[in-house]
Symmetry: C2
Subunit: 305 residues, 2 copies
């Protein structure tokens, strides 16, 4: 069993997605899927999750093509988690049509030995209770990031508050930051969230990019403009996965390193939303990522003061 | 009569504004007011507009403190244009409570001789018919920018189409760009707008900044993050005014110059929305603007690729 640089826990599922332009079903999805695939471009990433015995062999093959370590992925009797949703005209707001938890309902993360010394940990969007269970099994983490969502902010606030005390980096979107803090202004939201414990807070703003707030200062991360996005599912997970992958691959945890890694995250997520499922990341190379990163830099450059 | 570098036409009005935090009435407002004040930090700006005989002497004094050339501002019998509005929690969406056109209803712009050779022209948000009348009176413009709004897109599309053929730079917000083109994606909107004639299109996104689209490429202009905005009224006008002021003060019209000037626009607008009316621009110096511009640069910086 090979050691991994980064452990990623999250959902693994089979998605059916409708956008204003098209409809696709039986897609490989889930937060762990998107985050691990993005991270694997830069580091040895290991996945913690569960699938049912209906999980297609081709999906496992897809993970292997991304060189994702699967020692932490359990396959058990029962149906795999399934989600279907419809995106609105803005390609951001979406309606969930159905959620079938399947084997995910009984998920109890149990990390293989080769994951427990991993220095980097990404707690993808699952319940804070499960996120805490994973955190407890990691021996000496150097950097812990966690994502969350409105459901847990509403229904599991005490556990979420426990969690955010123990992580370095909290990632959530603008609506979630507002819900969590009861404030509207994003700078004010970030200030309130930093008070809860994490050293860094990332507020994701979809097509408008993201902002990284730390006690030392604020970083603006513009999104790469896309004329033709096809499927925004997993954008936040790919952003988080690529960011943590870059840090884990380099063994870096500093503020400047984080800013640098986030720029990679923004660019990888942009590739990801150009196609459904993992199609946008398939065949992606560091070279392609860095070319687009240079392009993004060029768009932000506005000359000397 | 002194020559001016930049002519600005727009509304001049007396505003009453309610935000989620406070309520203020009898404020100096209007698109020409905000744009000229912002431009005057960088260039000799002349205002084209009309006010009634109720226009307070202190407002005229305020213009003079900004060194705005007032040869093109007419004072006539009747009431000054008045607007009142209420901002929602997001400090972006607003409801107009009342609009009293007053002397603005009969406004026929007639440019003083000393304005007609001005090389830079900013057509603030008024009807395209009036914008065209001003344009016809300028003899040899080097750079013409125009702002517009949903009202004219809905009610004066033929005149607006005439106008955009004759300008270099069209500025509008994201909702207006979508309304004008019938597309949703902002890259697609910009492509459609560039087809109509202007060399450059700026799509403003409020707290998310703005984007500059040209045939040669795209520029992302992040907004300066503000923890405590007080009044967003005039933000777009200050952005446009400062941008055109920087260009007019330097006599520049190139693509790189434009990008550079826009960064100034973003920063000046951020100062402006920290207070009501022109309070945020009062006492503002180039030095303060450039310090904040350096701060904004620092926030976007994310290291080498």
């Amino acid at each position: 069993m090979a050691a991994v640089d980064l452990v990623v826990v999250g959902s693994v599922g089979i998605d059916s997605i409708e956008t204003p332009l098209e409809k696709r079903s039986n897609l490989l999805g889930g937060s762990a899927t998107y985050a691990c695939a993005a991270a694997s471009l830069f580091a040895r990433a290991g996945m913690v999750g569960v699938v049912g015995n209906d999980f297609p062999a081709e999906f496992m093959e897809s993970y292997r093509r991304f060189s994702i370590n699967l020692d932490g992925l359990r396959q058990v009797a029962g149906p795999t988690f399934r989600w279907s949703g419809v995106y609105q005209q803005d390609f951001i707001n979406r309606e969930t049509i159905s959620t079938e938890l399947g084997v995910f309902a009984g998920f109890k993360p149990d990390l293989p030995e080769c994951y427990r010394d991993a220095p980097f940990l990404l707690l993808g969007n699952i319940s804070p209770e499960l996120q805490l269970q994973v955190l407890d099994q990691i021996r000496r983490p150097r950097l812990i990031a966690a994502d969350t969502m409105d459901l847990w902010i509403r229904t599991a606030r005490p556990q979420l508050l426990d969690l955010v005390k123990r992580i370095d980096l909290l990632m959530l979107n603008d609506a979630e930051a507002r819900l969590f803090t009861g404030r509207h202004n994003l700078c004010a939201c970030a200030e309130a969230l930093l008070e809860l414990g994490p050293r860094h807070v990332v507020i994701k703003k979809g097509e408008h990019g993201a902002m990284l707030f730390s006690r030392r200062g604020t970083t603006i991360l513009p999104a790469f403009p896309l004329p033709d996005p096809r499927d925004p599912t997993g954008a936040g997970d790919m952003f988080a996965g690529a960011t943590m992958g870059v840090l884990a691959g380099r063994g870096q945890t500093g503020e400047t390193d984080l800013r640098h890694a986030f720029a990679y995250g923004a660019v990888v997520a942009a590739f990801g939303v150009e196609s459904f499922s993992l199609e946008g990341l398939t065949g992606l190379t560091r070279n392609k990522v860095e070319n687009r990163l240079r392009e993004l830099r060029g768009m932000i450059e506005c000359g000397p003061v």
